[in-house]
Symmetry: C2
Amino acid sequence: MKNNRYCVIMCGGVGSRFWPYSRSSKPKQFIDFLGTGRSLLQMAVDRLKGIVPDENIIMLTNEQYAGLIMEQLPQLKKDQILLEPARRNTAPCNAWAAYHIKAKNPDAKIMVCPSDHLILKQDEFRRCALSAFDFLDRHDALLTFGVKPNRPETGYGYIQLGEHAEGDFAKVKTFTEKPNEELAKVFVASGEFFWNSGMFFWGVDTIIKAFHDLAPDIAQRFDSAAQVWGTAGEQAYIDENYASCPNISIDFAIMEKAPNVYVQQVDFGWSDLGTWGSLYDNSPKNRDGNVTQNCKALLFNSHNNVIAVKGDKLVVASGLNDYIVADVDDALLIVPKSDEQKLRTYVNEVKSNFGDKYL
Amino acid sequence: MKNNRYCVIMCGGVGSRFWPYSRSSKPKQFIDFLGTGRSLLQMAVDRLKGIVPDENIIMLTNEQYAGLIMEQLPQLKKDQILLEPARRNTAPCNAWAAYHIKAKNPDAKIMVCPSDHLILKQDEFRRCALSAFDFLDRHDALLTFGVKPNRPETGYGYIQLGEHAEGDFAKVKTFTEKPNEELAKVFVASGEFFWNSGMFFWGVDTIIKAFHDLAPDIAQRFDSAAQVWGTAGEQAYIDENYASCPNISIDFAIMEKAPNVYVQQVDFGWSDLGTWGSLYDNSPKNRDGNVTQNCKALLFNSHNNVIAVKGDKLVVASGLNDYIVADVDDALLIVPKSDEQKLRTYVNEVKSNFGDKYL
């Protein structure tokens, strides 16, 4: 029997928040970030076992990362890797994936996952994902995972539950931006708000209809070449036309506007690993509270640091508390963890002083 | 007319106090430490111009550094480089240099210099050195430079002036070890105490007689092969016998015991560059008080640091004050400047954890 379950993994991000550990030539998702021997992308694919067959996995990425993907995921065939010729955020690429997959299987249900998140409880994740696919069989839904919050995190967006549908599923009442701490506390205490995980499930027809209704300027670009999807001409058409798509996120273009958006309440040990702080929180610490990411370190009178240094390098530090130390090739970063919101500014300074050399 | 003035430059030290900037494979004296384009050793040789002719310069070093010396000082002939087959501190090597030079010129006067110090006022240095050689013509003296102190430095040994001889010259009353701060203040206020620079002047006969009188176990080893000095057989004899010399400093073996020890009071902007702190003090600073040794750095809200990073590496730091950051090849050091006395301990920890790999 044909397997209708597909997974689209978005892995084209640049990820300046982990500079210099993550570089534009090899962003976070391609790095063995947790020292497990597998990159975050490989871990994202590994955890699909028992949910989606290998041949139904589709990579959405920027063309510059094609080589990295083929190297890290040799089990994929070339036509499973969709290469974006330009960065247009998450709406256009998800439209492309839907048209591409529909041409192969008009009954496809698609799970959309980021490639650089952490999920600790694999079994629970599998149970939730299978349950989500199952939900799509009975509902014409755009579904998202809402992660049960365990703290008033201000770094995530939140989803407010609306009308109950069944089991752990409900309609979405609102999507909210990152709240301040006070508001985040109210959200968590209410029991009504869940973290927006950026993982989605939808049937191909459901999402394509949503594009028609809510983002017709995107849909039109894909409709006008109905014959190319799934053929050898597809990439050429994309190379020609993709850059003219509007630069817009799937959340903003579709999820926040569609009438049939549902949320599944999940709790499988999720982190977006979006900041050094979340990496710190999710990594094993030594007795001084230091995370020595994958490296050799002799730390004296030093506590609660993240030390991320590539290769066989030795770090000797003393009197260092609550810092991020990241050393990779030709760049060394030493900043307080409390400064991590400024990292983007620092990286911009690097760019304005030295161009792309160190990015 | 034959030039009787010789200079022996001691450049065999290992220098763990600047680890990892200085490594045992390329210690401090061979590094362009101040970003001038010349290594400290090259600067030591450069400043002999007008004092000692090139062909009268003798290098005393460990055999492992022969290649580095020939590379950095191509003007030297091979027989100007004396290669110690073992580390035996400064007494045995100065005995060797004296016997070696006497064989070439029995009237030689020798100036002995370290290779890793800083001297800012070259002209004044030259004046003092010429004056020192001149003094040796009239006195059977073991002479040392005493540097006029400008602060109560606790990192140097001190020389107390004794009976006045002539001009800036006096007999030495005592050599003292590094004082504590209170004592250092008394020393400086007295006007009687000068920093022990580790630079010496003596005639070959004077120093050889001193070895006979005060360190006969060393003298005997050199006397017993009177025929080899200055010949092709010299190195073979040294290779065979040098390691059996006692491990002792010239200060302890000779200078602190001899009756004819003089001090010349000098003031030519001297530092032994013995610590990161003295490097910091002697280097140009930006307006935030940071010394960025030879490297690219973007420093935010960071003050009074020494950043020493080799190559084309970029350092981005924030919230860092009064630290030493040294990054070289496979080692990164981040320690408060106030911890620099503990550096030796840290380096020992490196050795006990990783052997010689990072030294």
